[in-house]
Amino acid sequence: MTGRVATTPGEPLSAAGAAAWLAVPARWYLGGLFVLAAWHKIAVPHDFAIDVATYEVLPLVLVNAVAIILPWIEVGAGLLLLLGIRVRAAALLVAAMMIVFLAALGLALSRGLDMSCGCFASQGAETDPISFRTVLRDLLWLGLSVLVLAFDRGHLGLDRRREGAEYHA
């Protein structure tokens, strides 16, 4: 990626440089979160399909396809964020998914559905109900993904190590 921020030892850290380092824990957090979120959905796809259907957003013909594919995109993006490979692309995917999740949540709340979020394991509406708190939480995660997308410079990531190795070679 272009626009790498110089962080030479001894040189004061610029705002962009600080943001680039702040993006590292955000990237790890989001990566772990998405891998964790995908785990149960991949293990029990039928439960996740029911969660998807419960939102009453998608037509029936798309419910299973989304339930099959979405968790693998989550786990793919999550692993890339954790490892620091193609970080901007992975952060873009996470941001796009968060926007879709927020839209579905908003629709469900506007319809007054008292249901499980389905974000992690299918826990049922009693233990994991959707609420405006869920929306705020998802907005926070969207903000973190935008932070990573805008400011991550590959610190402590495999892409940076590989590029460094190529440079030294």
């Binding site: 299973n64 693998w72 793919g76 692309a89 796009a96």
Partner: protein, 180 residues
């Protein structure tokens, strides 16, 4: 004459770095999503618990309404709606009262304030109702205060079943003499 020529040479110059970076990010994101989707489809195809790509029938989604249950309509015992053909009738009284007489076709689901229905039993009832093809659920209870029929109706409605009603006055008003 030379200025337009030099401009013409400069026009197809390199794209801006930002545009290139955005395009590259978009392409990489599409490739990651596509690869992950193909992997997911492949794994789903070979695993025993894989889903069909298109669900053969709608999922029975039970969406509970907020406590203390969902909305129920009140029907008078003489309401013509009680003569409809696509009713799912539920008798909320205890088993003894049900054995002594009940409305034809009614299903007995005893409802006790002190011993509420387990989640599994309520879920099973909601699934039976969803599978029955009925367009209306009518519950009748003991007609007391509180009326077990009304409250079982709220519980059923709270499981996402729409169009639930209870009979005002319960079995004593609906079943003269207590028999169907």
């Amino acid at each position: 004459m030379s200025a337009p020529l030099s401009f013409a040479r400069a026009a197809p110059g390199p794209r801006s770095p930002i545009r290139k970076a955005v395009l590259r990010t978009l392409l990489e994101a599409a490739a990651i999503a596509g690869g992950a989707a193909l992997l997911g489809l492949a794994v789903n195809a070979v695993r025993p618990s894989g889903l069909p790509l298109v669900a053969p029938a709608p999922y029975e989604t039970l969406v509970p309404c907020p406590e203390p249950g969902g909305p129920v309509a009140a029907l008078e015992p003489s309401d013509p709606a009680l003569g409809g053909s696509r009713l799912f009738l539920v008798d909320a009284r205890d088993e003894d009262a049900f054995r002594n007489g009940h409305a034809r076709g009614a299903v007995n689901v005893p409802y006790d304030w002190l011993d509420p229905l387990p989640e599994a039993a309520l879920g099973d009832l909601a699934r039976r109702i969803a599978a029955s093809g009925a367009t209306r659920v009518v519950v009748y209870g003991d007609g007391g205060r509180p009326d077990s029929g009304e409250h079982l109706g709220r519980e059923i409605s709270g499981r996402g079943i729409r169009n639930v009603a209870f009979v005002r006055g319960g079995a004593p008003a609906l079943l003269p003499g207590g028999a169907s």
